[in-house]
């Protein structure tokens, strides 16, 4: 790790003055209920003027006291009128700098910058909501220069353009058309892939569920024209027509959302950071220092597996556990090309040198226990359903059996000199994690008297992203091998990675 910057790298600086307008608008939004009361309550005009003046005064005062600086290797953000606060983020703990531009920010030409650090899984450690392009470049270059790895990817960097020059070239030009000058464009999501990602993602199912709930429970709140269309045109054709219509609505909404979120998703390797940019109306960019990446996760969803696709995610400290888009490496890639994409994007990541190891057949029946227990519970519940719906109760047990068999057959693991790889199936998704051997924060071996008698144990490793990877049942000696070899600093090299079974 390089020595953090000492002294004043960025002096006390206020946000861009346009923040006044954005903050005023935010304050006005918050004051809407009060304004409604004063305006419609017949208050004199000067009361509303005084209120607006007060809001402006508060916004100006807040803008005046909110300052950021980079001093002595830490990012400081001072704010607060009554309650003064100082947020201190050591630069060495910064894991991601994410610049974003909403539609409003794009119109006025300013950027927002989210600074993320470990243990801050719900959001950003610090947010600077209004920076000019020049200031954004300056702050990012300062923060990135001290957070870089000591070993540059390109040893001839002295003759290359500086980080800031390369970044400026990237940010101000078409990414696809300017791959030179040290920037390596790894992959760009095509429109067809974007649509496929939207269709095979989970958002359409969620929108469909929401639409079903809204239509069947809260139809009185649906806009009049939509309600009339459904009642006069669709409903006379029966429940199936309603379901098809709602599915079409969900599909259209999912495609639009996918387009807004993933349009022209571009993954770029720029020295020792990965950058991505995406978005249709609001452009979002993210920077992830390569040295902060602890693992890569290949997620093969149900529909994507059928079509031979998967998505790629990274495990990075401080990147939100709940927000899949923040940890996205690439949203959709053919499964047979995933390895080459990861190798190009992250050549440092040690890849397992041999195929992953399967579990011995004697463990397979253990994978049936849990799904069949859940299936039995669901069967009992479904037997309480009225009429013909009771027949649905025949489904859970076969499905539970299939899930158990799939989990047993697909579970894999491998450990070697520098990497550890685990594969497991949850429900519909199959996950494969390839991690640095020292990349996990916490390792766990789980057992019970029954497992111990059968020589079986579970293994789990947890990353600083808050997520984990694990195999529920494996040979106990293999689980112990993983417990002794994963996550430890300076541990001896593993000489053997053969299963003990």
């Amino acid at each position: 790790m390089s020595e953090p910057l000492r002294g004043v790298a960025v002096p006390d600086t206020r946000l861009h003055p346009i923040y006044l307008i954005i903050d005023t608008a935010k304050t006005v939004r918050q004051a809407i209920p009060f304004l409604v009361v004063t305006i419609f309550g017949g208050a004199p005009w000067w009361v509303n003027v005084a209120l607006f003046a007060l809001v402006m005064a508060i916004a100006i005062a807040q803008w005046g006291v909110k300052k950021y600086s980079v001093v002595g290797g830490v990012l400081l953000v001072r704010s607060g009128l009554v309650n003064r606060s100082v947020r201190v983020v050591p630069i060495t703990r910064i894991t991601e700098l994410a610049a974003s531009q909403s539609l409003t920010q794009r119109l006025v030409g300013v950027w927002g910058l989210n600074v993320r650090s470990p243990g801050d899984r719900q959001g950003s450690a610090v947010t600077l909501p209004c920076l000019s392009g020049r200031r954004l470049d300056e702050v990012r270059a300062t923060l990135e220069s001290s957070a870089r790895t000591t070993v540059p990817t390109n040893p001839k960097s002295g003759s290359d353009p500086s980080t800031i020059q390369r970044y400026l070239a990237w940010r101000r030009t078409s990414v696809a058309a300017a791959p030179g000058e040290g920037l390596q464009v790894i992959a760009i999501l095509t429109t067809a892939e974007m649509l496929l990602a939207a269709v095979t993602g989970s958002s359409i199912l969620l929108i469909l569920l929401a639409a079903l709930v809204v239509w069947f429970q809260f139809s009185e709140y649906v806009p009049v024209r939509a309600s009339e269309f459904m009642e006069q045109v669709v409903e006379p054709h029966g429940v199936v027509a309603v379901l098809i219509t709602l599915f079409v609505v969900a599909l259209a909404a999912g495609l639009v959302l996918g387009g807004l979120r993933l349009n022209r998703f571009t993954l770029i390797r720029d020295g020792d950071v990965l950058r991505n940019s995406r978005g249709l109306l609001g452009k979002r960019t993210a920077t992830i220092p390569v040295k902060r990446i602890q693992a890569v996760r290949i997620v093969e969803g149900f529909w994507r597996t059928m079509l031979g696709y998967c998505s790629l995610q990274v495990e990075v400290a401080g990147i939100a556990r709940t927000n899949a888009s923040q940890r996205m490496l690439f949203p959709l890639v053919r499964t047979d090309r995933a390895e080459s994409l990861i190798r190009r994007a992250l050549p440092e990541l040690p890849w397992p040198s041999q195929p992953l190891l399967v579990l011995p057949a004697r463990l397979h029946r253990r994978y049936l226990t849990l799904p069949l227990e859940y299936a039995a519970g669901f069967t009992l519940l479904m037997l309480l359903l009225p009429g013909w719906w009771e027949l649905v109760a025949i489904l859970p047990l076969p499905l539970g059996y299939v899930l158990g068999v799939a989990r047993a057959r697909e579970a894999r693991w491998r450990i070697d000199e520098e990497s550890v790889a685990l594969r497991w199936r949850r429900l519909l998704n199959r996950n494969t994690v390839i991690a640095y051997r020292s990349g996990s924060q916490l390792t766990e071996l789980s057992s019970s008297p029954w497992k111990a008698r059968a020589g079986v144990a579970g293994f789990k490793m947890r990353f600083s992203s808050g997520r984990g990877a694990g195999i529920r049942y494996m040979v106990e000696s293999d689980a112990l091998l993983l417990l002794h070899s994963v996550g430890r600093a300076g541990s001896a090299k593993v000489r053997s990675c053969h299963p003990a079974s």
Partner: protein
């Protein structure tokens, strides 16, 4: 959980042993911790018990035997937690600390052995409530960026010493 690291096919250990692999390095909690766990379980259950009894008396819901049956089941569960579980938990639990990692085994029926590399420790949190204070006990939580490991019912002096030792050993740069 197996005591030591298994040999490979060649008969050699293939990684450095963990702190807890040697039974002599394992630390157990003081024997009085079972009394502490019992009283903690009792005091923790009192508010819910009061609520259930009040509901059984005041609320006109269901037949009387169902209302008091729920109270009875709750009392039985609390009694089991107070009588049966603490000795099992005491027998299962141990921790071991080396200069490079913290090795903890805990559980009752489902047993978990956790290993925290020393350089991953972010913060230490020690807590001491009135019941713990009465028994001169401290609960220690070792936090990493990914989660935490809890040592519940350490002797107060031992906990202070442990905090100081881990604090010294974790004075290392982390690369999270």
């Amino acid at each position: 959980v197996a005591a030591t690291f298994p040999p490979t096919a060649g008969g050699e250990p293939s990684a450095v042993p963990l702190a807890g692999d040697l039974p002599t390095e394992r630390h157990r909690l003081p024997a009085r911790v079972t009394r502490y766990w019992r009283w903690r379980a009792f005091y923790s259950s009192v508010p819910i018990l009061v609520l259930l009894v009040t509901a059984a008396i005041v609320l006109p819901w269901g037949p009387w035997w169902l209302r008091w049956g729920i109270v009875g089941v709750f009392v039985a569960v609390v009694a089991a937690c107070m009588i049966i579980l603490p000795p099992i938990r005491y027998r299962v639990f141990w921790y071991a600390i080396s200069s490079t990692e913290i090795d903890v085994q805990s559980g009752i029926v489902f047993i978990t052995r956790s290993v925290v590399p020393m350089y991953r420790v972010q913060t230490l949190l020690s807590e001491r409530g009135p019941v713990a204070g009465h028994y001169r006990m401290t609960n220690l939580k070792i936090r990493t960026a990914a989660g935490s490991v809890k040592l519940s019912g350490l002797d107060r002096g031992e906990a202070d010493e442990l905090c100081a030792r881990i604090g010294r050993l974790t004075d290392l740069a982390d690369d999270v």
